[in-house]
Symmetry: D4
Subunit: 229 residues, 8 copies
Amino acid sequence: MTEHDPGYRDLGYARLDTHRLQRTGDPEVVYGAGKTAEQTIGLLRALTEAHPDRPALATRLSAESLATVRAAFPEATVDDVAGAIAVGPMPTPVGLVCVVAAGTSDASVAAEATFTAQAFGAGVRKIVDVGVAGLHRLMDVKDQLDEADCLIVIAGMEGALPSVVGGLTGVPLVAVPTSVGYGASFGGVAALLAMLNSCAPGVVVTNIDNGFGAGVFAARVARRAGKPA
Amino acid sequence: MTEHDPGYRDLGYARLDTHRLQRTGDPEVVYGAGKTAEQTIGLLRALTEAHPDRPALATRLSAESLATVRAAFPEATVDDVAGAIAVGPMPTPVGLVCVVAAGTSDASVAAEATFTAQAFGAGVRKIVDVGVAGLHRLMDVKDQLDEADCLIVIAGMEGALPSVVGGLTGVPLVAVPTSVGYGASFGGVAALLAMLNSCAPGVVVTNIDNGFGAGVFAARVARRAGKPA
Amino acid sequence: MTEHDPGYRDLGYARLDTHRLQRTGDPEVVYGAGKTAEQTIGLLRALTEAHPDRPALATRLSAESLATVRAAFPEATVDDVAGAIAVGPMPTPVGLVCVVAAGTSDASVAAEATFTAQAFGAGVRKIVDVGVAGLHRLMDVKDQLDEADCLIVIAGMEGALPSVVGGLTGVPLVAVPTSVGYGASFGGVAALLAMLNSCAPGVVVTNIDNGFGAGVFAARVARRAGKPA
Amino acid sequence: MTEHDPGYRDLGYARLDTHRLQRTGDPEVVYGAGKTAEQTIGLLRALTEAHPDRPALATRLSAESLATVRAAFPEATVDDVAGAIAVGPMPTPVGLVCVVAAGTSDASVAAEATFTAQAFGAGVRKIVDVGVAGLHRLMDVKDQLDEADCLIVIAGMEGALPSVVGGLTGVPLVAVPTSVGYGASFGGVAALLAMLNSCAPGVVVTNIDNGFGAGVFAARVARRAGKPA
Amino acid sequence: MTEHDPGYRDLGYARLDTHRLQRTGDPEVVYGAGKTAEQTIGLLRALTEAHPDRPALATRLSAESLATVRAAFPEATVDDVAGAIAVGPMPTPVGLVCVVAAGTSDASVAAEATFTAQAFGAGVRKIVDVGVAGLHRLMDVKDQLDEADCLIVIAGMEGALPSVVGGLTGVPLVAVPTSVGYGASFGGVAALLAMLNSCAPGVVVTNIDNGFGAGVFAARVARRAGKPA
Amino acid sequence: MTEHDPGYRDLGYARLDTHRLQRTGDPEVVYGAGKTAEQTIGLLRALTEAHPDRPALATRLSAESLATVRAAFPEATVDDVAGAIAVGPMPTPVGLVCVVAAGTSDASVAAEATFTAQAFGAGVRKIVDVGVAGLHRLMDVKDQLDEADCLIVIAGMEGALPSVVGGLTGVPLVAVPTSVGYGASFGGVAALLAMLNSCAPGVVVTNIDNGFGAGVFAARVARRAGKPA
Amino acid sequence: MTEHDPGYRDLGYARLDTHRLQRTGDPEVVYGAGKTAEQTIGLLRALTEAHPDRPALATRLSAESLATVRAAFPEATVDDVAGAIAVGPMPTPVGLVCVVAAGTSDASVAAEATFTAQAFGAGVRKIVDVGVAGLHRLMDVKDQLDEADCLIVIAGMEGALPSVVGGLTGVPLVAVPTSVGYGASFGGVAALLAMLNSCAPGVVVTNIDNGFGAGVFAARVARRAGKPA
Amino acid sequence: MTEHDPGYRDLGYARLDTHRLQRTGDPEVVYGAGKTAEQTIGLLRALTEAHPDRPALATRLSAESLATVRAAFPEATVDDVAGAIAVGPMPTPVGLVCVVAAGTSDASVAAEATFTAQAFGAGVRKIVDVGVAGLHRLMDVKDQLDEADCLIVIAGMEGALPSVVGGLTGVPLVAVPTSVGYGASFGGVAALLAMLNSCAPGVVVTNIDNGFGAGVFAARVARRAGKPA
C-alpha cells in the first residue's frame, strides 16, 4: 500500500485484495459460487500476476464453471469432487493435517478441506467412513490421528464423531458439520449444534459444509507446528 | 364403564381416568407439576381406592409438595432426586431395564426413569457417568448393556451417547435428551436433535428430560420380553 | 475382529461394518440416498457375502436407482412405494408389529416401516387412513392394536394419532411424524413436537419420515416379546 | 366523534377508545398486565362513565393488583383464577358458549375464556379434564358440545383435543393452545402448531394462553346465533 | 354406523368417513394435494353416492389434476384460481361471509376461501386489494364489512389488515396469513405471528394459506347467524 | 378523494392507490413479483396517467416479464441487474445517497437500491466490494462516505460491514442484509441479526434483500437534507 | 490521534473512544447494562472531560445504578422511565423528531428514544397510545406527523402501527418493535418481523426495544433536514 | 488401564476419567455448574492424587461454591471473574495465546479463556474493549496480534470482531460468541451466526460463552507452535 499501490486491484466486478498475502501470509481466494466462469478466470489471472509463487485457488465451482476455468488453465490442479482448482505449483507441504469423515456422503466436504489444506501448504492424510456406529473402524486408526498436527473431523446427521475423536486424542480438532441428513437434521443444524456442545474439551467448529474454512485454519496450525512432510 | 361406572371419577379439579388400567394395563399417574399438594394427595387417594393392588405414582413434585405428600402417606416409596412418590407396594419386577446416563448432571432424569420403570413393574440397573469423551468407561459395561431387555440412554449437551451405545448393542434403545448444557444447547434442543438424527439404527426418543415417559415405555417392553428378575 | 479380520471391509468408497451383526444381532443396512446405484449394488454384494443367511437391505432408493439395483438382483424382494430392496430370503417372522397410519399421504413412510420390520424379522399388520377426525375408524380396529407386540403409529399435520392410540392400548408405541402438511407444519416439525409432548404415557418418537428407524426398533421389540407369527 | 367528542378520552397515561362500542358493539377492555392498579382503576372508572350500561372489564391482573382494584369496586364481579374483574352488572346471556379444557393445569385459561364470554354477553358451560388419553370422558359429553353455539377448546402439551372434538361435532370451534408442558413444548408452541395444522376442518386458533380473545370471539358468534339462555 | 354400516367406506387407498355428515353436518372433503387424479375422482364418486344432495368438494388440485377431474365431472363447478372443484348442485346460500384480501397476490387463498364457503352453504362477498398502506380503500367498504355474518381477512407480508379491520367492526373475524412475501416473512410466519398477536380483540387465525379452513369455519358461523341471501 | 375521486383506481385485479402521492409525496410502486407482465403493464399505464410528471416504477420483474414490459415502454429506463423499470423521465436528483456493498454477490440488491433511490429523486454514488476482511479498501473511500446525505450499506454472510462503517462516519446509515451465504447464514438471517445488533449507534435495518425499501428511505432522507447534485 | 493521543482513553475496565466525536459528529455513549454504577460514573467523568460542550449520556441504568449515578452528578438531566442520564447542558434542538407509540406499555422505549434524540440535538414531540385498533386516534394527529423531519414509531404485539403510519405520510420512518406481548409474540419477534415486512415503502427497523438506536438515527436525520425548533 | 486400573475412578457421584491425560495429554477438568461444592472438592482431590504434577482445574463455580472450594485449597490459584480455580502449581508457559475481547461486558468469558489457557500451559496476553465501532483501538495492537501463536477473539452483539481481526492477521483465530446483548441477539445466537459466517477465511467458533473450550484449544495450538514465553 505505497503511494502507487492501494493494496487492491479494481477489476470492475471486484476489488481484489492484493495486500492480504502481506497481512496474513496467504493470498485471497476466489469463492466461485455466484460468479461467472469469466469472472473466476479473471480473478485467478490477477491473483497469479500478483503472487506468481503461490497457487491461486478457486472453490465452489459448478461442474460447468469448472470445465470452463480448467480449459483456461490446462496446467492447473483440479479436484472434481470438491469443485476446486489451484493455478500454479502447489507448495511443499509442512506439517500434517488429518481429515476424518464419518460417512461416504460427506465426500465433497472432505475433498474441499483436503484440497484447501494442501493449497495452503500442509500435508494431508484422509480417513473416511469411520462413523460412531462402528467404533472399531475408528479405534483402528487412532495412531494415525495422534500423528497429525491438526484434525478436521467431518460429520452430518447427529454430528457425534468430533466428540468421540476429541476423547481419544489431544490433537487440535476442527469439527465440520455437513448438511447430510433429513427431517430434523434441518440441513446440518443438528450436527452443528451437537459439535458446538461437544463434551470433549477443545472442539472448535466451522459453518455447515465449510471444508474450505477448516482447511485454511488447519493448514495454518499445521504449518506452525509441523515439519516438512 | 358399566351403566353405573362412567370409567372416570370426578374430583371437581380433575376427572381421574379409572378405566385406563383396563384399557392399557397400567393405571393413570399423577403429574405433580402445577398441582397443589392437596390435589396430588386427593388423586393418589382416589387411585389407591380404584386400584388397591397397584402402586399409585406421582411425579414432578417440588421439594415442598413432596414433603407434604409424603407426610400423608408415610408408608410410601419416595425418590427425592426424582421428586416422585409411589403409594402402595411396588410390583415384583419382570424383565430388566438398564438406565445409562452420560453425566453426573443427568441424575434427576435418570432417577425419574428408574423410579418409573420400577413402579411400572420392571427390574432396573443404573449406570452413570459414562460419557463418550472417555469411551473405556462405556466399554467396561458392554456386557451389562447386552443383558437388558430395554435400554434408556440419557444425555445432555451434544447427546452423542445413544448413537455410540446403539452401535455397540442391539437391545431396544430409548434415548432421553436432557436440558443439561448452556448457550447453543438451547435447553436440550441440541441433544434432542442429535438423538433424532442418530446414525445408529433403531434409536427412539422422548421429550427433553422425560425420564417418566422413557420409564413407562421401557418397562412395557421389558415386561413383555423378560423373566422375573 | 480377529488378527486377520478388522471387522469391516474397505470398498474404497465405504468401510462396511461386517462386525455389526455380531455386536447387535442385525447386519448393516445400505442407506441409498446420496449413493450411486453402483455403490449400492457393491455394498449389497458385500453384505450378502458377509452374511449369506440374512437379507441385505437397501432403503431410500430413487426410482432410477431402484430399477438398476433390481436388475442386478432379479430375485430380490422390492417395495416400490418404500423405495427399498432386500436381497436374499426374508426371515421367518417372529412377533407382530402393527403399522398404523393416519392418512393416505403417509403411505411411503408406512411402506418403509413395514418393509424394514419384515426384513428385520417381525410379522407386520398394516392399518391405514384412521385419522382422529373420524375416531370410529380407529375404534373399529382396537382389538387388532391390542394383539400387536409393538405399534408404529404414523401421522403428519398435527400428529395427534399417537396420543389417541396411546390412550386406547398399552402396547409399546413408536410414533413417526411425517412431512405431510403445509404452512405451519414446517415439513413435519408440528407433528414431531406434538408426538414428543404426547399426554399419553410411554410414546417414543423417531425422526420425521423415519419409517426405517421405527421398523428396526419395533422388530427388535417384537422379536423379543413375540412368538413366530 | 362529533365536533366536541374526538372518540377517545385522554387520561394522560392512555387514550381510552370511547368510540369502540359504537364501531364494534363492544367497549374497550383494560389489559391489566404492565399497568399499575391505579391506572387500571382509572381506566375502569372512565369506561363505566362512558358506557354505564355495559360491564367494564379488566383482565390479566396480578393477585396484588386484583386486591387493590377489587377494593375500589366492591360491587364488581371477580374471577380470581382468571385474574379478571368486571365492574357493572353482567349482561343477560344470549347464546351458549361451551368451554372445554384438556387438563387441570389449563384452569386459568379456561377461567379467562369463561369470564370474558360472560362479560361479552354469552351463556357459558364449562367442561374440564377431558384430554384425549381417555376418550370416554369426552364421548360422555358429546351432546353437551352439540348444544353449543360456539366451542372454545383449550389444551397444552400436544394440543390434540381440538382435532378430536372437531371430528365429533360441527359447532364452530376456537382452539386455544396453552403454555402447559415442558421441554419441546416450547411454552405452548407445540400445541399452537398442532392446532394450526388440525386435520379436522374449520378449526381456528388464538395466541397461546389467550382465553380472552377466544371468549370475545365466541361470545360474538353465540350472540348472533343464539337465543337467550 | 348400524350393524351393517361401519360409518366409513374402504376404497383401498382411503377410508372415506361417510358418517361425518351425520356427526358434524358437513360431509368429508377431498384434500387433493398428494393424491392422483384417479384417487380424487374415486373419492368424489364415493362422496356423491353417499351424500347425493350435497356437493362433493375437492381442493388443492394441480392444474393437471384439475383438468382430468373436471373431464370426469363435466357438470361440476370449478374454480381455477383456487384449484378446487365441487360435484353436484351448490347449496342455497344462508348468511353472508365477506372475504377481504390485502393484496393482488393473495388471490388464490381468497378464491379457496370463497369457493369453500359457498360449497359449505354461505353467501360470499369478496373485496380485494385493500391493504393498510392505503386505508381509504378500506374505509370505503366499511358498511359492506358490517353487513357480513363472518369476515375472512387475508394478508401476507406483515399481516396487519386483520388488526385494522378488527378495530373497525365487531363482526366475527377469521384471519388467514398467506405465504406472500420474501426474506424475513419466512413463508408466511411473519403474518401468522402478527395475526396471533393482534391488538384487536376477538381475531382468530388459521394455518398459512388455509383458505379452506377459514371458508368452512366462516360458513358455519354464517349459516347459524344468517338468513338466506 | 373528492366526491368523484375515491383516491384509488379499480383495475379489477388491483385497486391502485392514486392518492398516495398526495399523502406521502411519492406515487405507488408496482411490486412485480407474482404479477403477470400484462398486469404490470396495466398498472404502469395507470400510474403514468395518474402522475404524468413522475416516473412509474416497477421492481422485482423476472427476465421474461422485464422483456415484455420493456417492449411496451421502449422509452423507459431499465436496470437489468435489478430487474426494475421506470416509465417516464427520471427526476432531477436532490441530495446524495451512497450505496456501499460488501461483495460482488450483493450486486442485484445494490442495483435495486440504486435504481430506486434515483427514481425517488436522489443522486447516487455506488461503491462495491469493500468487505471487512480487507479494511484498506474501505478506508480508501471514507471521504466519499462522509459526503453523502444517507448511506445504504449492503452485506450478506456475517453482515459486519454496517458496524464498521457506522464507526467511521455519522451519516445516517441504512443496513440491508442479503441472502448471500450458505449453511448457517439461513438465507440472510445471520446478516439480519448482526445488523439489528450492531454496536455502532444509529444503524437501522430493512428486510433481507430489500434494496427497494432502503432506496425509498434513503432518497427521502437525502431529498430533505441535500442540495441538487 | 496525534503522536500523543491514541484516540482512546484507557480506564482499565474500558477503552473510551475519545476520537468518535471527530469521526462521527457525536461522542461515545455509556451503555449502562452490565456495568457497575462506579464504572458508569467513571466513564461519564471521562466523557465530560473529553467533550465538555456535549452532554455525556448513559442509558439502560437500573433504578439502583441511576440513583448512585445521579447523586454523583446532581446537575444532570435524568429520565427515570428511560433509566437514562445526561451530564452537561443539553444541546439546542435542531429539527423535529416525532415519537409515536402504540400503547401505554411501550412507555419506557418511547422515553429512551425521546431522551436520546434530545441529547443528540433534535427537538422531540411525543404521541402515545394511538394503536391501530382505534384509527381515529391516529387520524387526529396526522398533521403533527407530517410536520416532523423523522418519525420513530414504536409498537409491540403485532407491530402494525408503522405500516399504517407509513401509508399516511412520507416522512422518514424508523420502526421500533417492543417486547410487549405474550405467547407467540416471542419477546418482540412478532413485531420485529411485521415491521421488517411492512407493505408501506421505506420503513426501516431497529432491534427490539432499541429506543436508543432509533433516537440516534432520527436525530441525525432531523439535524440535517431541520431548522432549530 | 492395566488389569488393576480401569482407567477411571468411581467416586459414586462420578466416574473420573484418570486415563484422559495419557490419551490426550491433558487431565479431565471439573465442570462446576450443577455440582455441589463438596462434589467439586472431591473431584479436585481425586485429580490431584491421580496427576500430582498437573494443576487440577474447576470452572463455572458460583461465588458461593468458589468460596467453599477455595477454603479447602488455600494454596490454589483462583480467578474470581471467571469463577475458576486451579489446584497445584501452574505449568511453565509454552507459546503465546492472545485473548482479544470486544467489550467490557465480555470480561467473564475473557477471564475463563485466559485462566484455562494458562492452566493448560500457554502464555496469555489479554487485550480488551477493542470493538469494531472504533477501529483505531484495534489497529494500535496489530503487532501484538501478529506475535501470538493463537488468537481467541471474543464478542457479543453482532459478533463482527473476528471477521475484522481475521482480515488483519493470519494467526489461527478461535472466535467466541458471548451472550451479551438484548432483543434479537437471542442470548448470543446473533454473534454465533455471524462468526460461523465470517468472510475472513479460517475463523473457527466455539459455543456461546465457552471461554473454557477456546482456552483448551488455543493452548494446544500454542504449545505445539510456540517457545517457552
